[in-house]
């Protein structure tokens, strides 16, 4: 059983003449521990696909299973719980809470999972050390570099031990060197902890670091490239 199974998934926005088929019959399986990327030109459906896999959006038709469970039939509450426990997100613009410290930003999601204060602190500290921010726990996002902010976002995505991390253009706001460091960090976490990463990117260099590249065009999978796991 694959971690993520998409069967003939379509997503249509708008009505009548304004209908846009963002995804058009996508079938895709993603295995646990994969480190893959999704590429394609603007408007090809990359982010829509990520949103559907991340249970942020429901497909118009087709079947989406995560861990064998059909998420299209789940209630809003069940989807919230699934995102909280099984998924992690990393965004291009980090989307951190500016008034909270790095530690508090990571603790926030742990608190949503119902952990007590000391356990939140212990786990958040551990995760921030893991992404190399052990010395910056009390700093606020605006006191940190873009690369450091993305590291906080990665630590936050790893809270509650998710099986799948979805990253939407994680290097889009970073310079080349820092972008490489961030991808290297994700790769490291993938290898050490067998976390599954799906990275949406425009950047071929980022895509080259992944084991599998799915290229979308007009909402359809146009090409798929795999390479041997190192």
């Amino acid at each position: 059983m694959s971690l993520v199974e998409l069967k003939n998934v379509s997503k249509i926005y708008g009505l009548g003449q304004a209908r846009v088929r963002a995804l058009d019959g996508v079938t895709l399986n993603i295995e646990k521990g994969e480190f893959m990327s999704i590429m394609g030109p603007s408007g090809s459906g990359k982010t829509t696909l990520l949103n559907v896999v991340g249970c942020l959006d429901r497909p118009t038709s087709g079947e989406v299973k995560i861990g064998g469970r059909d998420v299209t039939q789940m209630s809003v509450g069940e989807l919230n719980a699934l995102r909280l426990r099984k998924l992690g997100f990393v965004f291009q613009t980090f989307n951190l809470v500016p008034t909270l410290t790095a530690l508090e930003n990571v603790e926030l999601r742990l608190s949503l999972a119902g952990l007590n204060g000391s356990e939140q602190r212990r786990q958040a500290t551990k995760l921030l050390k893991l992404v190399g921010l052990g010395g910056r726990l009390k700093h606020r996002p605006n006191q940190m570099s873009a690369g450091e902010r993305q590291r906080i976002a990665i630590a936050r995505a790893l809270t509650n031990d998710p099986e799948l991390v979805l990253a939407d253009e994680p290097t889009g706001n970073l310079d080349t060197t820092i972008g490489r460091e961030i991808i290297a960090l994700m790769r490291d976490l993938n290898r050490k902890f067998e976390k599954t990463f799906i990275i949406v990117t425009h950047n071929p260099e980022v895509a080259r670091t992944t084991d599998r590249v799915v290229i979308l065009k007009d909402g359809k999978i146009a090409k798929e490239e795999r390479k041997e796991k190192r």
Binding site: N51, V76, N80, A81, F89, N95, E107, S111, L112, R156
Partner: protein, 377 residues
């Protein structure tokens, strides 16, 4: 991370905007606080007014003769006739008139009444200095606490008005009510100063049994159609109704102030949530439920208004003290009273305003689709 801590931190994002909104709410609450204090004060004053007044007030019915300073007047011999009605304990002719002292003394109320009748009113009031009036006194006056303090007169001093000099026989202890503003002088002296002969403005009756007051009133009106008799309780009720009217106006004014405060709070919370649309989208994508986001915004709004309410109570307390002191110095009555009820009501209103102001922005942001929130620019 507790919701409350998180909400507090969120309020600190836009310090100037939050500060200005807090100030707006604080001013609205302070305004309401002062108006409530005035209501409390006037309520206490009405309660105190029960000390001054008869069981039945008798005046000449409409169309009687009128004299400046006395109003429509009646012959004081009516008192003897009214005293003969079954159930009447005391029938006292009185003159009640406002007056200003001749030597820059402030406005006061003068009650002309035979000293032996005045025991019905003043019997349970304590003399602070000097003595009570007796039937042997002529140009003597017994002053209420406030009027004696305002004019800095003590027992043995002179108090003059309309060219007549009165010796202050005694001063009363403070009651906090209108009695403090009254000066009692013998009826016959008041009549001679006003030059009214044996006329009185009213005749006040005290009955043996309050249950019988209604019966006595109808008996008077049957026997003497030229007179109008009103139960004291009715006068008090009319006063209370008047006070209620004042309260209604105060509630409306305070309500408008609070509505403005609520709109300011709603505007601030709405702006704040709109600015953070993507952040809320990210929170939802990380597993925060609609309910969590709703509660977060609602707590922010409630906190904003509660803090504003606490500041407003402080401002309102200071304002009430200042206004109370000013009015007390000016007219001599304490019409402002701060009781524990006032800040409790003020805080209760602030919390309610916060909840109401937060419902719409909380509902709006918690219902928004996650993908739309994340796309928000």
């Amino acid at each position: 991370m507790r919701l409350l801590t998180f909400s507090l931190k969120n309020l600190g994002r836009r310090k100037i905007r939050t500060g200005l909104t807090l100030l707006g709410i604080a001013i609205a609450i302070a305004f309401a606080f002062v108006l409530f204090s005035v209501s409390e004060g006037t309520e206490a004053l009405v309660g105190n007014a029960k000390r001054l007044g008869p069981d039945i007030d008798v005046k000449i019915a409409e169309g009687g003769e009128f004299q400046a300073g006395l109003g429509s007047y009646l012959d004081d011999n009516y008192a003897t006739a009214l005293a003969g009605i079954n159930g009447v304990r005391t029938a006292a002719p009185i003159i009640l008139s406002g007056a200003t002292g001749d030597e820059g003394q402030g406005f006061t109320f003068l009650l002309g009444m035979a000293p032996h009748d005045a025991k019905e009113i003043y019997g349970d009031l304590k003399i602070s200095e000097g003595r009570s009036l007796t039937d042997n006194d002529n140009f003597a006056i017994e002053l209420g606490y406030r009027i004696s303090k305002m004019n800095s007169v003590n027992a043995g001093d002179n108090f003059s008005f309309r060219g007549a000099n009165f010796e202050v026989a005694g001063t009363l202890t403070e009651t906090g009510g209108v009695v403090d503003l009254f000066g009692l002088i013998p009826l016959s002296t008041f009549q001679s100063v006003l030059g009214t002969g044996n006329k009185a403005s009213n005749i006040w009756l005290w009955v043996e049994d309050n249950e019988n007051a209604k019966v006595v009133v109808s008996e008077i009106e049957n026997r003497y159609p030229e007179l109008k008799a009103t139960e004291g309780i009715t006068i008090l009720k009319q006063t209370e109704d008047f006070m209620k009217f004042g309260d209604a106006i105060r509630v409306v004014v305070a309500g408008i102030a609070l509505l403005i405060g609520a709109l300011a709070a709603m505007n601030t919370v709405t702006m704040s949530t709109v600015e953070r649309t993507r952040e809320f989208g990210a929170m939802r994508s990380l597993g925060a439920s609609n309910g969590y986001v709703f509660k977060l915004v609602l707590i922010e709004s409630t906190l904003l208004c509660t803090i504003g309410g606490l500041l407003g109570c402080l401002l309102g307390y200071v304002g009430s003290m200042v206004i109370g002191r000013f009015i007390s110095n000016f007219i001599g009555i304490d019409i402002v009273a701060v009781t524990l009820r006032t800040p409790l009501i003020a805080i209760g209103i602030a919390v309610t305003v916060g909840v109401i102001a937060g419902i719409y922005p909380a509902w709006r942001i918690s219902r928004q689709q996650i993908v739309e929130s994340l796309r928000y620019e």
